[in-house]
């Protein structure tokens, strides 16, 4: 029996290696805190699987753990593209717990949140180096995209030769400027959207299929 089980395991391992090309690509959703990454992840997951990925909030660092939604099947032009979405914590180089106190949080809660946030950012960086096959980079089009964190992260993604799609989120806001993002990162295609309102999601799905299919 043991021999048979071993043989079956070996065949199964060989088959999974052979067909690894078929495995869904892991697409990391990256960007600074409060760009709308989780809102986008939830929008994509709800549109194609019916489930959400995680809670959304206007308080920075709501997402403090990378969350993966597996086997999201996106249909474009009769073809199916299957991806795993990895919603990651917003990347930053600093976390000050006193900023959370401004959101009506007690000190203990703010300190705990900041500790979890730092762990989450470290986790996101690790995923980026080791575990994603492509990146959706989400920016808030109502804020200045020309920040060091954005420049560094896009540089890190480029250095790994990962396909990257830049999304200019929050186009429903009056201060939104998609052109500002296009000017900051002219080497990449920028797609405008509102993940909250669901504006321009068709083009987003077309591009996801094109870049990651």
């Amino acid at each position: 029996m043991g021999l048979l089980t071993n043989l079956r395991d070996s065949i199964s391992r060989a088959a999974s290696t052979l067909f690894s090309e078929e495995d869904p690509k892991r697409i990391g959703i990256y960007g600074p805190p409060n760009a709308g990454k989780t809102t986008l992840a939830n929008r994509i997951a709800r549109d194609w699987t019916g489930d959400a990925v995680g809670p959304e909030s206007h308080v920075p660092h709501e997402t403090r753990r990378a969350r993966r939604k597996e086997n999201v099947e996106i249909e474009r032009d009769g073809k199916k593209v299957t991806i795993d979405i990895v919603d990651t914590p917003g990347v930053t180089t600093k976390v000050d717990y006193t900023e959370f106190l401004e959101h009506d949080m007690e000190k203990d809660d703010a300190v705990r949140r900041s500790r979890e946030a730092t762990e989450g950012v470290a986790e996101a960086m690790h995923w980026l180096r080791e575990d994603v096959d492509g990146v959706i980079y989400v920016l808030d089009s109502a804020t200045d995209p020309f920040t060091q964190v954005n420049t560094m992260l896009i540089g890190i993604i480029e250095s790994q030769d990962l396909p990257v799609l830049i999304l200019a989120n929050k186009i429903d806001l009056e201060e939104s400027s998609v052109q500002r993002i296009r000017n900051a990162y002219p080497q990449h295609e920028t797609i405008p959207l509102s993940a909250l309102e669901g504006d321009n999601m068709d083009e987003v799905y077309d591009k996801i299929a094109e870049y990651f299919g």
Partner: protein
């Protein structure tokens, strides 16, 4: 590096040459930067870090943040890296050029006032 300042004497700035960083492993570079910054110094790297080292710097910085003690770092480089002009072959062969002046300081002491392709203007305060 020699300690030359008293508590209220000002802000120490360490300008580290590319030559000094060249022979060091990634974690040694990150240690030099973070040890300096955690002492309240401004660290200026003549030739900056590679993207992979920048990624590890963010990761290690996060593990060292501690409430009321260390809030993290502020880091500034000129936005356009030379990597965009290089061939994939050069990058695979490790010839990637990352030579860009980089300024790193404690997040609670340094504030960027202005930044563009050719100028970084920052305000540095004492602890």
């Amino acid at each position: 590096m020699a300690e030359i300042k008293g508590p209220d004497d000002g802000v120490q700035i360490d300008l580290i040459s590319g030559e000094r960083m060249d022979g060091l492993a990634s974690m040694e570079k990150i240690r030099i930067i973070l040890d300096g910054v955690r002492d309240g110094n401004i660290v200026i790297l003549e030739e900056g870090l590679s993207p992979d080292e920048e990624s590890r710097l963010i990761e290690v910085t996060m593990t060292e943040i501690s409430p009321d003690e260390f809030n993290g770092i502020e880091i500034e480089t000129y936005p356009k890296s030379e990597t965009a002009d290089q061939s994939i072959l050069d990058r695979i062969m490790g010839k990637e050029s990352t030579k860009k002046l980089t300024v790193i300081g404690p997040a609670n002491q340094i504030e960027t006032l202005h930044k563009d392709e050719t100028l970084i203007s920052a305000l540095v305060s004492r602890k």
